[in-house]
């Protein structure tokens, strides 16, 4: 594939900017994003502290416990990383369609259905003792493919019929959970699962193992690899360039003859792949079977992860780890401060609202603005 540089190289010299200015302009816009995001985080921290003070709780203790429960020991760090793994993938599932201007909030559904389908396809394979590695591959591919088709359907509806993708993906999430419940409570229910209806356990041999010397499963590495690969795809290839053009101005993209429909379909399928893969890891590395625990809101937290990362695939990684830490510290906060597990949801909600309100300050500070005119 051609890189963007090969296009700019063909431009007449006066349109080519010196590489120094280009980097410093890029530096300006990047630091604008990072600094505003940090200020938004600080502001939401203050607002949340106010909320805690009103309830008679100690905010300092809260944030100290988040640090302790998220990063304080090697155990808690690994716990955070373990929870970050699905968040990286669901964050990407929001970020990639966002690049083409779509607000797809259905990662939860693709995760549930991807996880369920990989557990379902495992039943005949595991019970006939098929070889381990091909079985795992088939499970992972089933999860990925199911997710891609599920979210791809919403993309197809968007481009074929103009159906609003935000509402359709959320409806598909509820439908996905209903489909899983239908099978898990009925046809595919393991008779041994008494209290909580589940599919047949895939068994220890077929589960994804932990990384050597760590308590974290391989899903984390796969998530990071996906993030890097998608970052390269979005910033260094003609495909990514075309996606960003279409996201910026559909009419311009259509006038240039870009295949906008195909790009929309591809982006939503990629989103579904990521979410489906997250579902596979939840089944194959954590639960060992499919049940209602799959709908653990990873898909919804991923939306916030992506917004805070400004839909940048690389930035999704640290942000996911941060939210993984908040979730890992939940138990500690529940025990020490006597607060419900929904505390994390309130904190996330406040961060989310403040973050979106902060969109309004972009472009207000001269020091962050590119200086294209003077560079020529």
């Amino acid at each position: 594939m051609k890189t963007i540089d090969s296009y700019t190289a063909a431009l007449p010299p006066r349109h080519r900017r010196s590489s120094v200015t280009f980097t410093s302009d890029r530096w300006r816009t990047t630091s604008e994003g990072v600094i505003i995001a940090f200020v938004a985080l600080l502001t939401s921290g203050l607002l949340f502290s106010l909320f805690l003070l009103l309830l008679g709780k100690n905010p300092m203790q809260f944030f100290a416990l988040i640090w302790q429960g998220g990063f304080g020991s090697s155990f808690s760090l690994q716990n955070s990383l373990q929870r970050a793994a699905p968040l990286i993938l669901t964050g990407l599932a929001f970020a990639i369609p966002a690049k083409i201007g779509m607000t797809m909030i259905g990662a939860e559904g693709a995760l549930v259905l991807g996880g369920f389908s990989s557990a379902a396809v495992a039943i005949p394979l595991v019970s006939t003792h098929q070889p381990v590695v091909p079985t795992m591959m088939i499970m992972a591919l089933t999860g990925i493919l199911t997710g891609a088709l599920w979210t791809g359907f919403a993309g197809w509806l968007k481009y074929k019929r103009g159906v609003n993708e935000t509402i359709s993906t959320l409806l598909l999430t509820y439908i996905a959970i209903a489909i899983m419940n239908f099978f898990v409570e009925g046809l595919l229910r393991d008779p041994a699962s008494k209290n909580k209806a589940s599919t047949m356990p895939i068994g220890q041999d077929y589960m994804v193992g932990l990384m050597p010397g760590m308590d974290v499963h391989w899903g984390l590495v796969v998530g990071v690899v996906f993030a890097v690969a998608l970052h390269v795809l979005m910033t260094r290839t003609t495909f990514g360039f075309a996606v960003r053009i279409s996201g910026g101005n559909v009419r311009a993209a259509l006038a240039q003859g870009l295949p906008v429909g195909k790009l929309i379909l591809t982006c939503s399928a990629i989103a579904g792949m990521c979410a489906g893969l997250a579902g596979y890891f939840e089944v194959a590395a954590i639960q060992g079977q499919a049940n209602a625990s799959l709908a653990a809101r990873y898909g919804f937290t991923g939306i916030l992860v992506s917004f805070l990362a400004r839909h940048n695939a690389l930035a999704v990684i640290p942000v996911a780890i941060m939210f993984g830490a908040i979730s890992a510290a939940g138990g500690l906060i529940q025990r020490r401060m006597d607060m419900p597990d929904a505390t994390a949801l309130v904190l996330q909600g406040i961060i989310f609202v403040v973050l979106l309100a902060s969109e309004t300050v972009y472009g207000r500070f001269a020091m962050f603005q590119p200086k294209l005119e003077t560079a020529r």
Binding site: T166, L304, P340, V346, A357, Y362
Partner: protein, 306 residues
């Protein structure tokens, strides 16, 4: 299946439709009000959940379910105010803010709602219109909640008010053309904030119905997307309050299929029928998308239509 069974299912569906549709009516009316001003509030799902929790808690604390309904409405106004003010800032996307308000509302409801999952609060009493019938199925189908009637009356008032009052004209003009509103000396931001706050009130009341009447208890799985389905419902009803009632009854009937079948002993596929309202919404969205009639009746400033 005998004819009696079918009659039983239909009666149960009729009664169920009225029960299930009530929150839809309120959320859809609230969303209509907000969208008529040219803004969309996807956060009504969060408003619904918070309203359900606040309504239940206040009813439990004070012993008066109607006070609960009022408090639920006020919590909805507060969320509406936050949404309205943030969306008035330049460069802020109202759909994204809606998603964030959804998570904030749900988070607050789960946070404060934990102690109220167990205790039983006084519910709203239904009005018995079926006293004449001897059949218990008909009797229970005709137990109508007063909020259902309030919802219908509200719809008629809104329908009349939008078409015949000065306030209705201001609201419609702001939604159709911001420049026209400005030219008339109307501040569109003020109109939209007020419309979002009032819309939040209605959605909060709809939430109170969930916890105080049907299903009639507070738990974290109480609302499952009704707030979002209402957005699709409003498009289907083409921003007309009266059509909102019809659409809500249709959605209610779809939601009542599963329980109605269960009442005659058909429990197979219960989870599948649970998905019926979502599938119906999706089908409606697919069939109304790019419809020229819908586009003609849509408020001109609405981002979801553009």
């Amino acid at each position: 299946m005998t004819a009696a069974d079918i009659a039983l299912i239909l009666t149960a569906m009729l009664g169920g439709a009225m029960r299930v549709s009530t929150p839809f009516i309120f959320v859809a009316l609230g969303e209509t009000l907000t969208e008529k001003s040219g803004r969309i509030n996807l956060g009504l799902e969060g408003t619904l959940v918070l309203g359900a929790m606040i309504g239940y808690a206040i009813s439990y604390q004070t012993g008066s379910p109607w006070l609960g309904v009022l408090a639920a409405g006020c919590s909805g106004m507060l969320l509406g105010l936050i949404h309205g003010v943030i969306c008035s800032l330049p460069r802020v996307n109202d759909i994204a803010v809606g998603i964030s308000m959804m998570s904030l509302g749900t988070g607050l409801a789960f946070f404060f709602g934990k102690p109220y999952i167990q205790p039983s609060a006084p519910r709203l009493q239904s009005l018995e219109f079926g006293g004449w019938a001897s059949n218990p199925a008909i009797k229970s189908a005709l137990e109508i909640n007063p909020l259902f009637i309030v919802g219908i009356v509200t719809a008629f008032i809104m329908w009349w008010g939008l078409a015949n009052t000065k306030l209705g004209l201001i609201l419609r003009m702001t939604g159709d053309s911001e420049p026209a509103a400005r030219a008339m000396g109307i501040n569109p931001i003020k109109v939209r904030v007020v419309a979002t706050v009032l819309g939040g009130f209605l959605a909060g009341v709809g939430g109170a119905f969930l916890s105080l009447s049907y299903p009639g208890s507070w738990n974290e799985g109480l609302s499952s997307g009704q707030g979002l389905m209402a957005v699709a419902l409003v498009i289907f009803a083409r921003w007309n309050p009266l059509r909102c009632i019809v659409a809500a009854l249709l959605f209610g009937a779809a939601g009542a299929i599963g329980p109605a079948l269960q009442s005659v002993g058909i429990s197979q596929g219960y989870y599948f029928f649970n998905a019926a309202p979502y599938i119906l919404t999706l089908i409606i969205m697919i069939s109304t998308a790019r419809s020229t009639t819908a586009a003609r009746e849509a408020p001109g400033e609405l981002s979801i239509i553009k």
